[in-house]
């Protein structure tokens, strides 16, 4: 017995989750989050304060100590701004996905469970939403609501609801045919209770995986809306917005746009890596089919038995 015990099932899930690629994803995301949290302590600069003494030739400083990512057109430290944006972008992505996933989840569960005309109507609405290219719809909604980060979040949430609704409906359809649901009906439990106590916990795994993968997409959407001016507004540090500002100076100062772009790339990549790992760990159909590289961690977990 080791000094901490894990059940064989948990260990199995852990081993399938902690593949090298997932660990890489966690490492990238982890370090970005840590830097994002600690940036007010690390950086001596204010993300909003402009300074004219660094407007060096041609107009700002390139990456050089102490401005390791350089400074932007207004003399603000890019490193500071890029990492101040971590909390903005991640929070926005989490809220957007959380909102869309909860609404979509309820629509999918209810629609799949009750079926019939109710299901048809809800799903046709979802079909209409999904038939319009996502980004176009997000632009339309964000433009209609007015340009702000909050409205961009709403727009992206509305656009992505059908993804979760359809996913949950499919899962619900298969779960509601299971004997234990029949048994619960037979025991006289109410529909809502069956939906939320019996169907939902069984349908959670695909929802978690999908949500993690969608976090990356949400960041791209939000950054995209900010890039075209429908999301975050100056002077808020936000990657999409910084990309847009930096775009104009790309020939003179490559670092304006490169670093925010790199952050979007790294964060989306790590969300996808983690999401893939979660899918490998939680999808029962993949159980036993994945050959996992026997890492040191695996051997450590194994030695615990």
């Amino acid at each position: 017995m080791g000094f901490f015990e894990i059940s064989p099932e948990t260990k199995d899930v852990l081993v399938r989750f902690l593949q090298p690629s997932t660990i890489l994803g966690i490492a990238i995301l982890g370090s970005i989050i840590i830097l994002g949290v600690l940036i007010p302590l690390i950086s001596p600069y204010d993300p909003y304060a402009t300074s004219d003494n660094v407007l060096l030739p041609p107009l700002s400083s390139g990456p050089a100590w102490p401005y390791i990512f350089g400074t932007d057109s207004l003399g603000r430290d890019v490193f500071t701004r890029v990492f101040y944006a971590v909390s903005t972008d991640l929070a926005v992505a989490l809220i957007t996905v959380g909102l869309a996933a909860s609404i979509g989840m309820v629509i999918g569960l209810v629609s799949g469970y009750f079926g019939g005309a109710f299901d048809s109507v809800l799903m046709r609405i979802m079909d209409v939403l999904i038939s319009i290219p996502g980004f176009m719809l997000a632009i339309a909604v964000a433009a209609a609501l007015g340009a702000s980060l909050f409205n961009a979040m709403l727009a992206v949430a509305i656009v992505t609801i059908p993804i979760y609704a359809r996913l949950m409906r499919g899962v619900t359809l298969s779960i509601k045919e299971q004997l234990y649901i029949m048994a619960a009906k037979e025991a006289g439990l109410g529909s809502l209770r069956i939906i939320f106590k019996h169907v939902l916990p069984n349908a959670l795994a695909p929802l978690i995986v999908q949500s993690t993968l969608e976090l990356g997409n949400a960041i791209i959407y939000i950054a995209g809306l900010s890039f075209i001016g429908l999301g975050a507004q100056e002077p808020q540090p936000e990657w999409g917005l910084m990309l847009n500002v930096g775009r104009k100076y790309l020939r003179e100062a490559w670092w304006f746009a490169t670093f925010p772009g790199l952050m979007i790339f790294l964060v989306v990549l790590s969300f996808n890596l983690i999401g893939d790992g979660l899918r490998d760990a939680l999808d029962p159909r993949l159980r036993g089919t994945i050959r996992i590289k026997r890492s040191r961690l695996w051997r450590f977990l194994k030695s615990e038995t």
Binding site: M182, E186, N202
Partner: protein, 313 residues
Amino acid sequence: MAVLEIRNLTVLYYTPKGLVKALDDVSLDIRNRGEVLGLVGESGSGKSTLGYTIAGLLPDNAETVSGKIVVNGVNVLNRKEASKARISVIFQDALTALNPVLTIGEQIAEVFIYNHGLSRKEAYEETVKVLEQVGLPRNFVNRYPHELSGGQRQRVVIAMALSMKPDLIIADEPTTALDVTVQAKILKLLLKVVKENNLTMLYITHDLSLVAHMCDTVAVMYAGEVVEYADVKQLFKEPKHPYTKALLKAVPRVDVDVEELEHIEGSPPSLINPPSGCKFHPRCPKAMSICKRRKPKLVSINGNRLVRCFLYG
């Protein structure tokens, strides 16, 4: 008042190949509380459909076109009344009958809380009681279904069925998914709890030897119809319907040496296009010309028995 009363029940399945008459004018009774009625038949004879119809668990593509089912005075085919009937089902596959993400205790206690209106604490006590009744220790309340063996799962399912305090238990081949040694234990347990609680049970199976062991009365089904109904002793001593006779001959016996097991010629008829007249006539060794033309009625002989065959009138 009969515990279970089925009158002229006809159930149709809509399939891509056509209409399937799964139950054709079935009438059946369980007269006394504490009686165990065995329902035997081949695959596709409609025995499981009958069980599911009583429990109100027919799939979406099935329809009850006519008939009446009354359980303890409650017409279960009436949507408004159905929820008043206390019917428990013991399913074939215990693993899929238990919710994988909830503990045994949560699943059983739920019935006590939402069906019998008990508090959490009372429900817990009752749950422990029914678990002990099926021979499982108290600490099983915190176990998940995947941690149990097949036999233990079936015990849990029986405990759940008991927790309903049912008027009628429908057991649909509860032991087919188990090892033979475990089967015997589960059957013994099932019989014990049924007798102890004076419960009425409809036992659905294709295994005649189990019927002899478990049941008081037997109904034999063929192609969606009841062809014979009798007391279990009478049926085994003196089967009347040619189909029942053939079935009994096809059961392997340990006390008689036979070279080759008898079997029934042909295969069960298609229910989309059933044979004319008596549905068994193409396979019946005693078929007469009338069997092709007319459908036999379920006739009463020797007072207590029912047979659907022209040999008896």
